[in-house]
Symmetry: C2
Subunit: 215 residues, 2 copies
Amino acid sequence: MTRLRVLGFAVSVDGYGAGPRQDRDNPLGVRGPALMEWFFHTQAWREMHGETGGETGVDNDMARRGFAGIGAWILGRNMFGPVRGPWPDESWRGWWGEEPPYHTPVFVLTHHPRPPLEMAGGTVFHFVTDGIESALAQAKAAAGGRDVRLGGGAATIRQYLAAGLVDDLHLAVRPVLLGSGEPLMHGLDLHALGYECTGCVAGERATHLFLEKRA
Amino acid sequence: MTRLRVLGFAVSVDGYGAGPRQDRDNPLGVRGPALMEWFFHTQAWREMHGETGGETGVDNDMARRGFAGIGAWILGRNMFGPVRGPWPDESWRGWWGEEPPYHTPVFVLTHHPRPPLEMAGGTVFHFVTDGIESALAQAKAAAGGRDVRLGGGAATIRQYLAAGLVDDLHLAVRPVLLGSGEPLMHGLDLHALGYECTGCVAGERATHLFLEKRA
């Protein structure tokens, strides 16, 4: 059965999935890049960017797992770009250049319609305006029997968690304090929503946590 | 210089230092004992309870560090007991029986005066009614050049953090979801308050995090 999975989503020890004051210059918010330090050094990251080398080890294994068996992605609009409100034109084509790292259909949640956008390497961005359940249904249909990865951001993951739609999560907890920003779990009662923590593995630059929805 | 230290304070991965609905039957709140599982199995815990055996390893080392070099403790009133409002009498003598594990002066924050209470093994509970700064000044004076350990609970630690009075923290992050309860860091901007995360060590049953106030 196709699952909805959050994989390799980084949070700070004080629970933030992005720093404060996100904008075009700070897509992860101020101090947000510190969240990604577990990923930047891995062989997996370097390969994604056409480079050789990089570290192998626990963090690298965890990064690779996040791309295995994924047939479609869902992203919140802010993960696609800094544009707010109606699209002024179609010039914004994502943060990732002409060949994004997804290589699958990607369903972007937005209130503002836009035609699908086909990129190099198999990524096609579809803009979904009729809500998170519709995006999930479309992503599952497009995933071809593989799983759907919910990429974020934090606010989007919270919406899917509150609706009980996420099957499991792998969080990379980074030993940094952001102090403010986009909280992932604050005020969400994940126990009452049916989730439990099923594992914890120490990586080189993050502690990897596994949460699952109880059957 | 005498420091104010939080040591071995357990939190869930969703950030709670105690579960919901604390009362006499549930001093750590519902599901709260899951927070202490890193400590219950250690040699240090067993020795404190007059038993032999127990596990050695990282968690045990961390537990022992929490008692080394401590000359006085500060506790919030709920950590001392379940009594709320004025003391009806002096029959409540703490959760720990006649020989509590502190073996130092312990300053208990309360709005309701009560004479000092001397227990076996060197623990003397002093009830402080004039605020957190007074309790800290009294504890530092009593510590004889050693450090002061702030035992909790979460609400008490938050008060001292918000006032910038805590020098460092060692948190034992347990891989459990409590869902609700007493949050430790939610809504406190520890970065703005001057704290940073200086280390992270994987234990057998918890991930040990170290936070320090920047100089």
